[in-house]
Each structure stands twice: as C-alpha cells, then as structure tokens.
Symmetry: C2
Subunit: 126 residues, 2 copies
C-alpha cells in the first residue's frame, strides 16, 4: 500500500542517488540537522564509547533537560542512528546504542569534538 508522501519520497530518493546537503529539499538536510544538533552531537559521541541508559546520558551531558534529551533520542532513533532497547526483566531499563550507520556518524562527530577540545585555546583569548 502506498502511504501518503511515499511517492514524493521515492522521487526524492531517485533524484538524489547521492545526497546533496546544499539542495534544500534533499533528505540529507534534516539528517544533517539532527546529527549536528547541540544535544545530538553530545549523545552520539558518548554512545561511541558504549551503550548508555537514559539516566547516564542525562548525568554526563551538563545542562541538558530530560525533555530535550528525550526528544533528541527519539529523533536519532527515528533516523536510524540509535537503537532503543527495553530490558525484559527486573526494573525497567532503557538502553540506547549506536546502529552501524550511527557508528559512522558518531566517529566523524567525535573527530570534530576532539579537534575542537584540543584547539579551543587558539580560539578563546586568554
């Protein structure tokens, strides 16, 4: 069954064999926005280390609210960068982990963050 919007999406898909972030209608553009969102970057780089529970992410990311973190994770799960797994026994435990494609994105974001942290003092005057 063809869902509403599916034709348009298939057309875009064919049109952009390879993404083009400079074209406003290319589906890569919202993906780039999600990857580079303030909290998206910080979540993905943490998950590169290992899977984390919600509360762990909340305590490691200074300044994030539960609402923003939850919204960020929902978006990343929706895009296919992150998986959300609910434990089946004991107290409810929700764990977030990178998908294969999320791993590729997170590695590149970690390079950027690592570079910035090392070069910050060239940018911020003492």
């Amino acid at each position: 069954m063809v869902k509403p919007g599916e034709d348009l999406r298939r057309n875009l898909h064919d049109q952009f064999e390879r993404g083009d972030v400079y074209a406003p209608e290319c589906p890569s553009r919202p993906l780039l926005d999600h990857l580079t969102s303030r909290w998206g970057v910080l979540v993905l780089v943490l998950l590169l280390d290992r899977p984390h529970r919600f509360g762990e992410l909340a305590s490691l990311i200074g300044g994030v609210s539960d609402k923003m973190l939850s919204q960020t994770l929902k978006t990343l799960v929706g895009d296919g960068f992150v998986t959300r797994e609910v434990g089946t026994d004991g107290p409810v435990r929700v764990t977030y982990a990178l998908t294969d494609v999320g791993q590729g994105a997170a590695e590149r974001l970690a390079d950027l963050v690592e570079w910035l942290e090392s070069n910050m003092n060239a940018l911020v005057p003492a």
Copy 2:
C-alpha cells in the same frame, strides 16, 4: 585595562586547559554550536574549496536568507574561523575565507558531510 567579564574568561581559560564540551560553562560549547549550526556547516565546507564572496555563498546554499547568511558569517568571523576582507578598488567586494583554525574545523565538517551524502540511502527508506 581589564574589560568586564575578562576575569571570568581568564578563569574559564585556566580551568579548561583543554576544552570539555560536556561542561555547560566551557567556552568550547558555544564554539561547537556555531560550527554545527545549520548554515555554519554549509558555509565552512564551501570555504574549504576556496574563498567566496557573499553573493556566491548565498547562491550556492539553497534556502538560506541573506539575513541568516550574514548572521552566520558574522558569528564565524567573531569566533576566528573565517576572515572578512573588503576589496580596496573597484566595486565593493567582500570576500570570506577560512583562517588556519577554520580550515581545521572545515576539514572535519567536510568529512561528516561527505559521509552523510554517501550514506544517505542507508538512512532514507526508498
């Protein structure tokens, strides 16, 4: 002369010998926000190719308004990622180029964009 806020800034500078984007008060965090802003990414990656005039950037970046582009460039110039040069003869020409440190950032953002453009079809269902 000590400008207002300079002491605080020096303290932060000493405190963060190396940046820590997970600390909300670290000066690296606004820098990361600027680097990863929607238009910031697209501007920096274009400048990696060569310096560009304002109008060139505006026409290459689909969907950006003059106001947003101008605000983005002002922020990147203020951070020290980009230089703004006004031509001295003939019609007024303003050219934007990467600084050395901007080059480092832009290379990493270009890796991310390149990866996303190549992997988009693993993310967007056909």
